[in-house]
């Protein structure tokens, strides 16, 4: 960030990015459709599962591939687990920015590790899962894994209660976050902000409800909304969203059906979708994540474009920071929930 100050007050702020640019979109145009899948893990490296899903969804729209029911359930389970660990880590980082060095972040990481253990025993890797395939998932979940996942999910609300006891009423957190970095509803809509950032301002837009992809229309859950759009609302929205995710996970683990985990006609090698274009978007933990693909009928996409939520949410940083102190600017940046792998691509 380039910041201009007047005393301690921010008068001008410019986010400077590009230091983690890895040419993702051009690489995507140079490799096969399947070859781009492991690269999507590395966009938002906290949530490889949702990245995989968004990419798989856009390729499936492009090629008209159907996904078996069981695979849809597996996708929901992995994506919601991913949301849990993303939000819990974000809160850890956010309070670390406020000066709570270590302790809450350590507790957050301890819980995240349980979810990453689940990912590792399912896909083989903790963070770079590379799990979704066009038309399903790479491997099936075992009953033992589901049981383990259920245990983690059932233990999670207890941890959340503890975490809230530690943080939500803490005077330091409350006084440093309430009224800080407030974002107005109209500005948030105009700037194209999505995800918890937008919902903290009170706009009811969650793609899981607004445009149910996969099988999200089968689950009962609520969308938490804020009304001030400040840092505290963003913190609280994430806590509440985790509670809703736990409820989705309970339903999904409870009624996962038997069946194929991948479409029987899905193929790995020599995949050529018909010419055309498609945009697949999902509600990633950070906001709307979309992949726009143009195919010319060859094994490689003609155009590969990522719509990253972190990047677009970051563009509004100056408007939130103006008039605040330099110490608050750090917290506001923390509350945006960015991952630079996704900002710079």
């Amino acid at each position: 960030m380039d910041v201009e100050l007047e005393g301690e007050t921010v008068v001008k702020l410019k986010p400077v990015f590009g230091y983690l640019h890895r040419n993702h979109e051009k690489i995507g145009e140079g490799t096969s459709y399947l070859g781009s899948m492991p690269y999507t893990d590395r966009l938002d490296y906290f949530n490889s599962m949702t990245n995989n899903w968004a990419y798989a969804l856009s390729v499936e729209t492009l090629a008209g591939i159907e996904v078996p029911e069981r695979a849809e359930y597996i996708r929901v389970i992995t994506a919601e687990l991913s949301r849990l660990q993303n939000h819990v880590c974000l809160i850890g980082f956010l309070v670390q920015d406020m000066g709570a060095l270590g302790t809450p972040l350590m507790y957050a990481f301890r819980e995240r590790e349980r979810i990453l253990d689940l990912f590792e025993s399912l896909t083989g890797a903790r963070m770079m899962c590379n799990y979704m395939r066009f038309g399903g998932c790479r491997c099936d979940v075992s009953p033992a894994w589901l049981h383990q996942a259920q245990q983690v999910v059932e233990a999670f609300p207890k941890f959340l209660d503890e975490f809230e006891a530690l943080l939500s009423e803490n005077e330091v957190l409350v006084s440093r976050s309430q009224g800080v970095g407030a974002l107005s509803q109209s500005l948030a809509i105009d700037a194209g902000i999505t995800g918890p950032m937008l919902r903290a301002t009170g706009v009811n837009l969650d793609l899981r409800k607004a445009e149910p992809y996969g099988i999200y229309d089968r689950f009962e859950f609520r969308i938490p909304l804020g009304d001030h759009g400040d840092v505290f609302d963003r913190y609280m929205i994430r806590i509440l969203e985790m509670r809703e995710s736990v409820s989705i996970l309970r339903q999904a683990i409870g009624d996962i059906p038997q069946g194929d985990f991948i479409h029987p006609k899905a193929k790995l090698r020599g995949f050529k979708p018909p010419a055309g274009e498609a945009y697949g978007r999902i509600e990633a933990p950070k906001g709307e994540l979309g992949f726009y693909l143009i195919s010319d009928g060859s094994p490689k996409p003609y155009r590969f474009r990522v719509r990253p939520p972190s990047f677009i949410n970051l563009t509004i940083l100056e408007d939130m920071c103006l008039g605040q102190t330099i110490a608050d600017a750090v917290i506001i940046l923390g509350s945006v929930d960015i991952v630079l792998g996704e900002v710079d691509r």
Partner: protein, 213 residues
């Protein structure tokens, strides 16, 4: 009352501190080099080449079809075909790789090579302690470093290895059945040919005799 929230938080911290002495669920770290978390069965890291039997040079499953080289997203595999064919596990003559290098400094462990390999020869290892003092030559794994016995594969991924063995057994049986069918067909064809030749012989003889007369 100001400070109530902080006190509440401190109670939580104290609970975790006391809990970490007797409840492993509350522990956050292990002391790594001395203490290691047991690896998950599915854990993957870098690829290796499986060989059957005791000799890695003759037992290598790879037939250098170069599919993995083509499909690898970061292009970290380099294969050169041998010039002489050797029999594989079915007795078919196949090219073995003369060179098979994997640059593990480029490899991202995505497992796509494993998924596309039609000969069950490349599989994922779970060894992660690859630190080297020479990052160019040291991290470029050669064929002899990559080759690991099927026994080792069974020791790291038992379920997957058993499935792979079943696939290979199936292939062998299919091959044997095919060979048998082929041999039977050949024998039948030979018999038929012999019978035809016999049939054909008489009129030809007649022809020749007619011509002669």
């Amino acid at each position: 009352m100001i400070g109530k929230g902080i006190l509440k938080g401190m109670v939580e911290t104290a609970k975790n501190l006391a809990g970490s002495f007797h409840d492993p669920e509350r522990l956050t770290t292990v002391e790594y080099p001395e203490q290691k978390i047991p690896a998950k069965e599915n854990a993957r890291n870098f690829p290796f080449l499986v060989y059957d039997g005791d000799d890695w040079e003759t037992g290598l499953r790879c037939v250098s079809c170069q599919i993995c080289e083509k499909e690898c997203p970061p292009q970290c595999i380099y294969i050169e075909k041998d010039t002489v064919k050797k029999p594989d596990f079915l007795g078919k003559m196949q090219f073995q790789p003369k060179t098979f290098d994997i640059d593990v400094s480029v490899c991202m462990g995505c497992q796509i090579c494993v998924e596309v390999c039609p000969f069950e020869s490349i599989r994922m290892d779970r060894d992660f302690e690859y630190a080297q003092s020479d990052r160019f030559e040291g991290l470029l794994l050669r064929k002899d470093q990559l080759a690991k016995p099927n026994k080792y594969y069974h020791s790291i991924h038992p379920t997957e290895a058993r499935e792979t063995d079943a696939i290979r057994d199936g292939k062998r049986q299919d091959h044997l059945a095919k060979e048998k069918a082929k041999a039977e067909k050949l024998a039948k064809a030979k018999e038929e040919a012999a019978a035809k030749a016999k049939e054909a012989q008489t009129p030809t003889d007649g022809d020749s005799s007619e011509k002669a007369s």
